[in-house]
Symmetry: C2
DNA sequence: TAGATTGTTAATCGATTAACAATC
DNA sequence: TAGATTGTTAATCGATTAACAATC
């Protein structure tokens, strides 16, 4: 199933995944427009700011359910609200970080998530040396307390930043505790877990795109890294 | 242009972007097979391990240029080598991190990148308080030295982990210095830069998928966060 | 030989893009 | 009214999936 379903008043509408992935960009552009005092923005204006085609913007915004005004454009404020509702960003969700390593603490300290309706409440780690510390005003708690706190605070989202080897076990533990959505930052591709949404940030896939394009660049120009290495080495 | 070109012996072949993004998963599965002593792996075996269809695996592997043996499968070692070559992971590339904040230092400390042919050499930051420090055995250097070191060490890849406001300026500086590929971890969507490949890790897009699916889940079940909030608050 | 699995060719599916009448 | 822009309907494009003959 490649579609996401969202409730809009009475009827349930589905939004294509590529559209959902573009929605945050629209929010960013529309907020800038709002700051500039614009009440309306046209599809071509939005498209221009993002390097897209206006027809794609119109199709995407139609999926969100907002109607524009021919000759005028789309109402900026209404559009932002509609997108945020589609994404579930209209009311904030609490989240726990599992794995208080470098990445986990980096994410816990990122203030930008508030904009996306994500509120990181605490971090969990199985390392006693880390437990008790506070990072960015958030406590690192022992894994033993995870399940209890998920239940007591009704936390639905867990951000997985444990080492690759621990990913499967941590995911099972999170599911057991009642976590509904896992944001997986580990390089481990988790097997599907019943009743749990898993979204993976796949750095290897992203790097694969970057490095393959870079490799093809080198291949096309004829230059190779080996040639560049002819020159004397310098220390940093 | 949505295709990446790679040189394979004489002819230039193009690999579809969705295929490229799946290649790292194949490498992971194939390495496990290699450790188990398998010389060959069938498309259905690989597909099963990743939750894909065997026909998709066969199509992807065909794109990489390796031929399988009917009734037997694909040669594991040869396949790994061919994928790594397609991705440019066969010879390591040096990279600089721009922005020695939490995310930058987290990435600099991630040992898994070595597997992807990525070697982070040093970090750069404009904050004098950070300059001179060493994180994970890598020095934090002043931005002023960036251009010179890119040239002297022939570094082609920069990993951008500066605050959103600094992204555009840092990207321009990197391009000016001769960087060929930017791995952009900031929430800023950069305008195209001539001669520079930009690959973005778009956390907002990823979170949008997660949260919209979570929101639709809530909508479908009828449960809302407001109802859950009826119960007494507990402190962490 | 029989069974398993590949690789090719065709069908399907879904997303993007184009064209243009409707409308502010 | 004239100009701008929407939203709909159709065309295109590319990726996934299906079917099956070829082959080890």
């Amino acid at each position: 199933m490649l579609r996401s379903y969202a409730m809009t008043e009475d009827r349930q509408i589905s939004i294509a995944l590529p559209t959902i992935r573009r929605l945050p960009m629209y929010v960013a552009v529309l907020e800038k427009a709002l700051q500039d005092g614009q009440t309306h923005a046209s599809s071509s204006q939005i498209a221009g700011a993002l390097g897209l085609e206006s027809i794609q913007v119109r199709k995407d915004l139609a999926a969100v359910g907002v109607v524009g005004q021919p000759g005028v454009g789309f109402p900026v404020g209404e559009l932002i609200a509609a997108i945020e509702k589609s994404l579930g960003w209209d009311n904030a969700s609490d989240a726990f970080v599992i794995g208080a390593g470098h990445l986990g603490t980096a994410l816990a300290g990122y203030r930008g998530f508030a904009r996306y309706g994500l509120n990181i409440v605490a971090l969990f780690d199985s390392d006693p040396a880390k437990v008790g510390q506070t990072v960015h005003g958030k406590k690192i708690l022992p894994m033993e307390k995870f399940a209890d706190l998920v239940a007591r605070l009704h936390v639905r989202i867990a951000i997985l930043t444990v080492p690759a080897e621990a990913a499967t076990e941590s995911a099972a533990l999170a599911a057991e505790a009642g976590i509904k959505a896992l944001w997986n930052f580990t390089p481990t591709k988790l097997a599907p877990i019943d009743g749990v949404i898993v979204e993976r940030v796949d750095l290897a896939a992203s790097l694969a795109v970057l490095s393959s394009r870079l490799a093809s660049l080198v291949g096309a120009s004829g230059a190779t890294r080996a040639q560049a290495a002819d020159e004397p080495e310098s220390e940093v």
